[in-house]
């Protein structure tokens, strides 16, 4: 990679250093302070024609602003000031090379100024294209071959050996491996572990698994170490009789979440009181519960984190109907009085659950298994689920707006511009009866490319086949990802 500017820029840097660029950039490209913004607003006009453009540039040799419609070129020629800076992005034009040139050192200054600017404005970190560091550039040069994920190859697919009724684990592992954001995290080698190579960290084990899935090997994998790690750290699973894929999923997230802490300092662990590990970033949402006292109409609101939503399947015929019922206000009745903080006595109340924040991966658990003292049974009721799901109707903000009847645009609820669309990417199915059942999973390898995972057997599947399956655990991924809003 060649980002060492040009001979002319290097001569300039040798004579005057990087200071001129730093000043121009901090004041007139990325304004790192209020003062700088004032300067830019009042002085960035062409010194020749007085217009604010097109494409303002600043001379790097002297204080001179001019537009690219000829005036900056005139200045450059007449004064023999051959380097000038574009004021939108901070790139340098060399009049002797007749092209924009790129210098690593100056690019890094520009990046740091852009972060400072965002911080001073209190806005989110701007998009910046990825730049490899020296080692990464070296590795990219040495290893020229690129393995691409395509709908025609088995890269990213791998069968999993059944270790004796461990299809519940295989299905959850297939789901996790095919979670797009988790894949990016692990293939990007983002997990830096303190307990590395101790063999005790589940996150490291999953990291190795990703390498295995993308290695191109075809033989089924044996997940004995993974099972051992999860059972060691989630003792409440109490052995392999506890074979519910849903419970295993939650336990696995819990162990992963705890082991993510292996890599971080104590001080970084929690930001604003909430965990920032990759598991929580992807899977945690906030469930809001509003309890309204029927006597004084006082509302008590609590928000609890959740990793998945369990839905009753008796009655509704679709996932949306299940969610609609889940978020409906419910009268708690006289048998379940709750102490009202206003009235200070136990009152009847209504209660409503809504989604306050949505996770990136929305996991739904259809409660198909009923265990009571009298009878254990499986409910095979048909529940249709869509390939694309809009979660907006189940959000707290939306419900609030519906309740006050704010249908006109002037009263638009907060977050109305948020995109809450989700796409289905994995479905875990339970086949057969309660005591002689089997789990299989459908996973989406890439858009429109589905596979059925039945332990060691991976076969192609159609979206139709996936949507027609019974469905036990449904996994949806957010379609559009926003940039991180927190500025720390």
């Amino acid at each position: 990679m060649n980002d060492n500017g040009c001979i002319h820029l290097n001569n300039f840097k040798a004579a005057k250093g990087i200071h001129p660029y730093k000043i121009v950039h901090a004041f007139f490209v990325s304004c790192t302070s209020y003062e700088a913004r004032r300067y830019k607003a009042t002085s960035c006009l062409c010194f020749t024609c007085g217009q604010p453009g097109p494409r303002m540039h600043s001379c790097l040799h002297c204080i001179y602003f001019a537009c690219y419609a000829g005036h900056i070129q005139d200045h450059s020629k007449s004064k023999k000031h051959f380097l000038y800076v574009d004021l939108s992005y901070g790139n340098i034009f060399c009049a002797q090379c007749q092209d924009y040139i790129y210098d690593r050192e100056l690019t890094e200054i520009a990046m740091s100024h852009r972060l400072k600017e965002a911080k001073s404005l209190g806005i989110s970190v701007p998009f910046m294209p990825w730049l490899p560091n020296n080692n990464e550039a070296l590795a990219l040069r040495r290893l020229r071959k690129r393995r691409l994920i395509s709908p025609h190859t088995t890269i990213g697919l791998r069968g999993l050996q059944n270790l004796g009724s461990t299809c519940f684990m295989n299905c959850i592992v297939q789901t996790l491996i095919h979670t797009p954001l988790l894949r990016d995290y692990f293939l990007g080698e983002k997990h830096k572990c303190k307990a590395q190579s101790s063999g005790k960290c589940l996150v490291c084990e999953v990291s190795k698994l990703f390498q295995e899935f993308y290695s191109g090997a075809k033989t089924p994998l044996t997940l004995h170490r993974l099972l051992h790690l999860i059972w060691t750290h989630a003792r409440h699973l109490a052995g392999y009789e506890q074979q519910d894929a849903h419970e295993f999923f939650i336990a696995t997230l819990d162990v992963l979440h705890r082991h993510c802490m292996n890599g971080v300092e104590d001080t970084e662990k929690k930001e604003n009181g909430r965990c920032n590990c990759i598991i929580d970033q992807i899977f945690t949402g906030g469930l809001q519960s509003d309890v309204v006292c029927t006597s004084c109409s006082g509302v008590s609101t609590t928000i609890d984190p959740f990793w998945d939503i369990s839905l009753d399947v008796a009655g509704p015929g679709s996932l949306q109907a299940c969610l609609e019922r889940f978020t409906r206000a419910e009268h708690l009745g006289s048998a379940a009085k709750i102490k009202c903080s206003n009235c200070r006595v136990y009152r009847e109340s209504t209660k409503q659950l809504t989604l306050e924040t949505l996770p990136i991966v929305a996991s739904f658990h259809l409660k198909r298994f009923e265990h009571s003292s009298q009878i254990d049974r499986k409910i095979s009721a048909f529940v249709s689920f869509p390939a694309e799901l809009d979660m907006t109707p189940f959000m707290s903000s939306h419900r609030r707006a519906v309740d006050v009847g704010a249908t006109d645009n002037n009263n638009a609820p907060e977050g109305v511009f948020e995109d809450n669309r989700y796409s289905l990417f994995a479905v875990v199915n339970h086949l057969g009866s309660l005591d002689a059942g089997h789990y299989t999973a459908y996973v989406r390898q890439m858009k429109g490319s589905w596979f059925k995972c039945d332990d060691h057997m991976i076969t192609r599947a159609s979206l139709r086949e996936v949507l027609d399956s019974e469905g036990y655990l449904l996994f949806y991924h957010k379609t559009v990802l926003e940039y991180e809003c927190d500025v720390s």
Partner: protein, 310 residues
Amino acid sequence: MNTIVSELSMNDLNNKFFEIMQNEGNAEEAANFIYDSIFDDVTLGFMFEFHHGLKTGLTDLIEGEKEEEDGYKIVNSPECDVFGFSIMKKTPDSNCSCPNCERPVSATRFAPHLEKCMGMGRNSSRIASRRIASNSREPTSYAGLLSDDDDDADWAGGSLQSERRKRRIKNNNNRKPNKLHNGNNRNNGNQNSDSNDGSATYETMTANEKKNLLLQICGVVSEHTKKLCTRSTRCPQHTEEQRRALRNTVLEPSTPESQTIGLTAEEAGSPPDSSPSSSCSSSSRKRDRHRAVPKIKNKRERNMSPNGRE
């Protein structure tokens, strides 16, 4: 729009702005100007990114050369899976090394082996007691006292073992069935529900031995056999109260330790509070929510647990 002279003060700029915006035509022109500027800026940003990639060689570096795909092509055949393995054929079994006991175990029987090996399932007590005995720092003290019965049949190979298994199945049939965890009626071939295999008594042990032992096993003394229970400290046969009471009597003189031991079992099983709980939409959850966040641990009681394949 009027030509603006450079080096305006902020005040001038504000005044000028309001003056110009009075005119509706100007306002529209300004809006268009802002839109065009933003559009130009975004376009320029894209052009710069592209130019930067080409000029510095970054694009070429990232793209590299596409790897030959022939070796990884998906096999499209109704008789094969995507890798080209026949769907009729069973996968060949392989051995894996158990991370717990480091012995080779047949992969297809690994889960039932691990359950017992880790001392988690209902068949675990003998293995657990053997492990405790062999791992103990004072191997002479109670190792001999505990049951050192025959092994389980998971270890790869051995026809003698299958003989033993048959014998056990026979034995089991005469017994009352165990308390089932999930209505799972599987016959593992070597169910042995009697947890009181150990013939040790606390009288013969030193205080240190007792303490060590009770850190690892349940230890409650059976009313019928007068033997101590060698299951894990979370064994379901005995309650937490029984365990605590036993520790209080056995470890009488050293009260602080006995309390810690009594607590470990509870603490070990409960997930940390920082973990979000799995939400359960049943009506019981709705009633519970405002009192306490349901914990994963509690969930098991009302959780729906289907069983996997045999």
